[in-house]
Each structure stands twice: as structure tokens, then as C-alpha cells.
């Protein structure tokens, strides 16, 4: 059992939960994730470790409520607990040792890119974060990233920072030169666009893939992705790969496998047939 010790709403549909998981808090590295199962009957879902406090024995999970499992998780209150958390899983991020890194986060991907930016800055790499959201209220992790390095905020509607997509802001940085590496985390299409953008500049681009997962230990093969024409298991070989070699089309296709089931589950949830009510104490 993992108790929720703090909870914060970061944007209209993104919530941070600080959860007790002492061993994971102690050893986790940037880029790693956990598999979470809220309780009996719940799905096993992968979530990135956005931050940790080794002394307090807690990890931070930043969750975008998109479907049944994530909605039920963000409905938990401080004092509630999560039944199963396994990790830390996946390989830690491959960090460059010096130079200038651009960390691009789209939506909840900003929370995933945060630990990478944090780890880079700790070893002296100059970090510029390019983060985006639909509008001002959707931008997350801005203060934390400002503590680490430069930040460019982009909003689709221009309500905050520059108007436009993170790709445009990244392109300006590439044009200005001196970018040694790009780390990009966000929706599949954003990562694909960024990989295409950096390719002609010859700037290495690391992306964090988010295929459907079940066990997270390399046992089921459901998370297979195609990189450089070869099949890899994202849960054990990744989740980060060289964006210039990833087959994003395949990733996007496989991601829609359970769309009908998900819509059905979300509908049941909206109709009140959801465990949210049960999982809250109050």
C-alpha cells in the first residue's frame, strides 16, 4: 500500500500526487517510470516518476486524466492509498555531459521532461526548456523549470508566452545554433514533428515513447515499438529512443487498439458506474 501524502491540481486536467514509495524514491533516475495499479480490478498503467524526495520516501506522479484509470487515480484524496506500485522501470535517460540541451514538453509531457532537465542541470549542462499548452492555465512545471535554466513558454492561443507550438520555438533555437541535443516528450505527433524538425540540423533527439503496457517487465511484448526497423520493448529497452529512428506511425496506430473499449469505460464512468465514489473515503 502506498499512501498519498500530498495532492495538487496543476492544470484543468493534470494532477500531481505525492505517494509514499521509499525504495523507488531512493534509487530512481531521470527517465524512469512506475507501473501503478490502483486497487483490485484496476488496470496496470505506466506513469513517469516526475520527481522524488528520498528523505521523505515519496515520489511524485503527474497524471493527466484521460480515461477511466487515470480519472480514478486523480480522484483519490490525501490519506487514500494506491495498492501496487512497481519500479523504477525502464532505462534512465542517457544524459549528455556538457553543452546545451533543449528539453521540450507538450502538455503532461512537461512533467515527464522535468526530471530530465533536473538531472542535466545537476551535472552542469545548460538547459533550455520549451514547454507548451493550449492556453495559460494548461502550462505546468514552469516555476520548477525556471529554477533549472531558461524557459520558453508557448500557448496555442497566445494567452501566455509566445503564440504557437513548441516546434516553432524549438526551430528558432536550432536556427540560433549551439544546441547539442533535444529531449522531447509529449503527444506522438508532437514528438514526430520535432524529430523531423531536428533531423536536417543533425541534432540528436531523444523521445520518450508511450505505447500501451501491461506488465512493464518485458514479459508480454504488448509495448513493442519499431526503432530503426527493429522491434524493441519500450518497457525494458526504453522508454527513451533516438527519435530519428522511431516509426511514429506504427506507435500511433497501435495506441488506438482499445479506443472503443476506452470510450465505453469512460461512458460507464460518466454514467456513475465508476469506482471513483468507492475509492474516496469521504
Amino acid at each position: 500500500m502506498h499512501t498519498i501524502v500530498a495532492k495538487a491540481q496543476l492544470s484543468p486536467n493534470v494532477t500531481r500526487l505525492d505517494v509514499s514509495a521509499p525504495r523507488i524514491a531512493q534509487i530512481r533516475k531521470a527517465g524512469q517510470f512506475v507501473i501503478v495499479r490502483r486497487g483490485e480490478g484496476a488496470e496496470r498503467i505506466p506513469l513517469t516518476i516526475a520527481d522524488s524526495d528520498a528523505a521523505a520516501g515519496t515520489i511524485s506522479l503527474v497524471i493527466q486524466a484521460v480515461g477511466k484509470s487515470t480519472k480514478e487515480l486523480v480522484a483519490l484524496a490525501v490519506g487514500d492509498s494506491i495498492k501496487d506500485i512497481a519500479g523504477p522501470l525502464g532505462h534512465p535517460t542517457e544524459l549528455i555531459e556538457k553543452g546545451h540541451a533543449v528539453c521540450v514538453g507538450g502538455g503532461v509531457g512537461t512533467a515527464v521532461v522535468h526530471p530530465i532537465a533536473q538531472a542535466l542541470s545537476k551535472i552542469g549542462v545548460h538547459v533550455t526548456s520549451v514547454i507548451g499548452g493550449r492556453s495559460k492555465e494548461w502550462v505546468i512545471y514552469e516555476p520548477e523549470l525556471r529554477n533549472i535554466g531558461d524557459v520558453v513558454v508557448c500557448t496555442d492561443d497566445g494567452s501566455y508566452g509566445r503564440k504557437g507550438f513548441v516546434t516553432q520555438a524549438t526551430e528558432d533555437l536550432l536556427k540560433a545554433g549551439g544546441v547539442d541535443i533535444v529531449y522531447a516528450v509529449g503527444p506522438v505527433m508532437m514528438m514526430k514533428a520535432l524529430a523531423e524538425l531536428t533531423r536536417p540540423y543533425g541534432v540528436k533527439t531523444i523521445v520518450s515513447l508511450n505505447p500501451l503496457m501491461v506488465d512493464g517487465t518485458g514479459m508480454c511484448g504488448g509495448c513493442r515499438v519499431s526503432v530503426d526497423g527493429k522491434a524493441y520493448f519500450a518497457c525494458v529497452d526504453g522508454p527513451e529512443f533516438d527519435g530519428h529512428l522511431v516509426d511514429f506511425g506504427q506507435l500511433a496506430d497501435r495506441g488506438t487498439t482499445y479506443r472503443e473499449f476506452e470510450q465505453e469505460a469512460a461512458k460507464r464512468c460518466a454514467d456513475g458506474d465508476c469506482r471513483i465514489g468507492l475509492s474516496n473515503k469521504g
Binding site: G41, K68, D84, A86, P88, S226
Partner: protein, 470 residues
């Protein structure tokens, strides 16, 4: 020495009793257990068929040397507690092995009665006695030795790990089992389906170990949460039994399409995550037509599961003939009874899909058996130009599994063979002193009972090792 009044001649006259089973037409629509178990009278009658050979061949056929004549004799005499204690002292998970062992190639194939008629139904009787023991826990008198003050870690809670843990606890060790998944049991809970091995039975067997003092920590992925060298600092010895969980692919075009599953994923979704239960949050595709590639137990389980998930046509696609199938005979028989079709002498060449990337069929080529190879097996050869398509919306590939490198990658000092399996000596010790290994991670995908045999031998070897050091 026999306690029965029947003469051998009278015993010879008793015919083999049949295992009562659910009607195939009914069971193909439910996940309830197929074999229903014998009533006491029937079981006693079947046990009477044992001739109590002075030199029991059946025991030699059993990888853990269960004293079969002894427990059958106690059963015939009506001493259920005696039979149960006898069986449990030889075999830690008899309710499991009684259901999933390939008896026809082990104990029952050595039974002298097999020469003239049918062998004694040893598997059915093992199950009978084990089920009695499950509901009569108080009658089990096996006790732990005095605490030895030493700690042993077991990695993996499949049959090898559970057996070792039970045996070590009985020998007085402080045992902790580390399991990557959220539930203990290994393949017994994520692979083998409910209708063949009810999960309640595995849970009860695990609970019995916990009662005997074994600690089980789930959600610990060794190689990530702790490495083997880290565990080595905290424990006096380690037994690694992490199985052979890495699925193999056909390496044909189209394996990434939606509707193409490995058997591990398909079975895990249905078994461990209970996707057959409408209340489960874990999704699964509910196909109309399914093609399952492979001829082993895993293929049979996937096919029969798909049948129960409501598919109209399920077929086993296998490149040889039924005679070469490695699955347990009873599983092939049950699959046939339930209406699973067999597309034999067919080899898949491509998975085809529609424009939305959903699987629509499996393209195969017909095969014929060629000349026998070095091992005497006739190997299949493709017939040129015989390609055809099996229409289906789901393809499940059950081609076997290999060693998962997750753990061994973080333990560079451990010697592995070419296929990534852990190399052990005759005492099951790896190249790292105090670290032992057994089950599928050493043998490659094998059987429940061989894994259990390794667990038993490793426990004895660990005991010897730690006592010699003490």
C-alpha cells in the same frame, strides 16, 4: 506393503475410472474448471488399481520422486490424512501438478499397467488427495525445523520459487520471495487459464507458504528495484527462479498490426488482469475469428481462452501434424471437444490487415513432412505456390519463450549460456557463490514439475551450502 484386501488379479480387473468433466458444449462458454474432480468412491476404486509394485517404476518417472504407491495405499485404506501428509512431504504444490503435469510422459507412462491397458490415473488421484488437503488444513502436520538464523531471498514466485521457499522455510530459514508482478504464482496465475487451474488454488497454496513463515514481496522487479548484488549483501543466499518470460515472435511482416498478440499478452490480459470479467478495467479485443500459431500447451490455452471469449471460429495453426504437437494430450483432446479447429501442416508467412491497420487474416503456406532429420523427426517443408489466407481478426502467436534479460543484465558476473539462460553446477549454484538458480531460467521453457524439482533440489543445496559455512 498393501493394506487392501484385494488380490493383484482382482485389482487388474478394475478398469480405469474416468474423470468427470463439464460438457464441452457448455464449458466452451464459461471459465469454470473443465475437470470436475473425482468423488471419494471413484478415487478409491481407481487407487485400488495400483499393484503396489515392489520396484515402483512410476516414481522414477516423476521428476520429484513422489512416493506414489505409498500415498495410493493410504488412500485405499481410507487414511486421507496419511495420504495427504505423505504427498505433501514429497510435493509442495500437488493441487497444481495434479492438474497440469504431463502425466502421460512421466509417472503414468512408466506404470506397469500401461503395458496392458490403461495406467493408474495417478494425476487424478494426486489432485483428489491434494484437494482434500486444501479443505482439511488442520490434518497437515508438517512442521518447520528450529530457526537457523539465516536469510534466503527467492526471486520469482512461480513453481520453482514457491517450492524452494516452502522447503527452505521448513528447514528453518528466514525466506523472502520477491515477485515482479502484483500477484504471486508466476505462469500459474498469468499464463495457465482459470478453466484448467483455478486461481483460488494457487492463492491457497501461496497462503499456506505464508502461514509457514515465508514472506512474499510483490511489485519488486529484481534488476530494477534491487539488483542481485544488492540482495546478496542482505541475504545469506539467493535462489533465482524468474522463469523464461520473454515472448518470441514469428518475424513475419505484419506482427505490429492491431489484433496481433503474443500468447503472453493475450493470456495475461485474460488471466492475471481478468479481462474476461466485465468488471475488469483491462481491455481485450473480442474477436470473431482467431488464429493461434503454435502446438504447445500455451497455444491450446490461448485457443480455448479465445473460444470462451466468444469467438466463432478458433483454429490452431501448426506446421507439423497433430502427432508432433508438444502439448499435453488431454489439452489437445479437450480443445478438439470444445470445437477448436486445427489448421495443420500450415506455416504463417504474413499477417494481413485493412487500411485501419486491423488484422484481417493470416497468410500461410502449406507444408509437407519431408525426410526424417538427424533426430528422427520429419521436418516440414513448404509446398511452393500453396499460399492461402486464414481469415481472422486476431492472431495469437504462441511460439515459446526465452530468458528475460532484465535481471541478468544487471548482474554481469553471472555466467549465461548462448541463449541467455543461467549456467549452474550440479548443485544448482551459479557462477556467483551463494547464488543458486532453477526452473525455466536455467532450462528454457519446460514444465511446472521440473521447475518444482529444481526448487526442491536448490533448497537442499542451499541448506548444505549455508550449513557448511556455519
Amino acid at each position: 506393503m498393501s493394506t487392501s484386501n484385494l488380490t493383484p488379479k482382482q485389482r487388474m480387473q478394475i478398469a480405469r475410472q474416468e474423470m468427470p468433466a463439464q460438457d464441452p458444449a457448455v464449458r466452451r462458454n464459461n471459465f469454470g474448471e473443465v475437470n470436475l474432480g473425482m468423488e471419494a468412491e471413484l478415487a478409491k476404486l481407481e487407487a485400488e488399481r495400483c499393484l503396489q509394485c515392489r520396484d515402483p517404476k512410476c516414481m522414477k518417472g516423476c521428476p520429484v520422486n513422489v512416493n506414489i504407491p505409498r500415498f495410493l495405499d493410504l488412500l485405499t485404506a481410507g487414511d486421507m490424512a496419511g495420504a495427504a501428509n505423505s504427498l505433501l512431504s514429497d510435493n509442495a504444490l500437488p493441487a497444481v501438478t495434479g492438474r497440469v503435469c504431463p502425466q502421460e510422459t512421466q509417472c503414468e507412462c512408466e506404470c506397469v499397467r500401461a503395458n496392458r491397458g490403461s495406467p493408474v490415473g495417478i494425476g487424478y488421484l494426486e489432485r483428489f488427495v491434494a484437494d482434500w488437503a486444501r479443505s482439511n488444513q488442520d490434518a497437515i502436520t508438517l512442521v518447520n525445523a528450529a530457526p537457523k538464523g539465516k536469510k534466503v531471498a527467492v526471486v520469482g514466485s512461480g513453481p520453482a520459487g514457491l517450492t524452494a521457499a516452502g522447503q527452505l522455510a521448513r528447514r528453518g530459514y528466514d525466506v523472502t520471495v520477491f515477485e515482479a508482478l502484483h500477484r504471486a504464482g508466476g505462469v500459474l496465475v498469468y499464463g495457465i487459464p482459470e478453466f484448467r487451474l483455478p486461481k483460488k488454488i494457487v492463492d491457497q497454496e501461496v497462503e499456506r507458504l505464508v502461514q509457514a513463515g515465508v514472506k512474499i514481496e510483490c511489485n519488486v522487479v529484481v534488476g530494477r528495484t534491487y539488483t542481485v548484488p544488492e540482495l546478496r549483501e542482505q541475504f545469506d543466499a539467493i535462489f533465482i527462479a524468474n522463469g523464461a518470460g520473454l515472448p518470441m515472435f514469428m518475424n513475419i511482416p505484419g506482427e505490429h498490426y492491431k489484433g496481433s498478440y503474443t500468447a503472453n499478452e493475450y493470456l495475461t490480459r485474460v488471466n492475471l488482469m481478468a479481462a474476461y470479467d466485465p468488471d475488469s478495467d483491462t481491455p481485450i479485443i473480442k474477436p470473431r475469428r482467431v488464429a493461434v500459431v503454435g502446438g504447445g500447451n500455451v497455444a491450446m490455452d490461448a485457443a480455448r481462452t479465445a473460444q470462451r471469449m466468444g469467438a466463432e471460429r478458433v483454429s490452431i495453426v501448426y506446421r507439423r501434424t497433430k502427432a508432433e504437437m508438444p502439448a499435453r494430450a488431454e489439452e489437445v483432446h479437450h480443445a478438439e471437444e470444445e470445437g477448436v479447429a486445427f489448421d495443420l501442416l500450415c506455416a504463417p508467412v504474413e499477417i494481413v490487415a485493412n487500411e485501419k491497420k486491423w488484422v484481417t487474416g493470416l497468410k500461410c503456406v502449406r507444408m509437407e513432412l519431408g525426410a526424417p532429420d538427424a533426430s528422427g523427426r520429419r521436418s516440414p517443408v513448404a509446398i511452393p505456390g500453396s499460399e492461402f489466407i486464414i481469415e481472422c481478426d486476431v492472431v495469437v502467436s504462441a511460439l515459446g519463450t526465452r530468458a528475460n534479460p532484465l535481471l541478468t543484465q544487471t548482474c554481469p558476473d553471472m555466467k549465461l549460456d548462448k541463449r541467455g539462460n543461467i549456467v549452474v553446477d550440479e548443485k544448482l549454484m551459479t557462477s556467483i557463490p551463494g547464488v543458486f538458480a532453477g526452473g525455466d531460467i536455467v532450462r528454457g521453457a519446460a514444465t511446472v514439475i521440473l521447475a518444482m524439482g529444481d526448487g526442491k533440489r536448490a533448497a537442499a543445496a542451499i541448506d548444505d551450502y549455508l550449513m557448511a559455512k556455519a
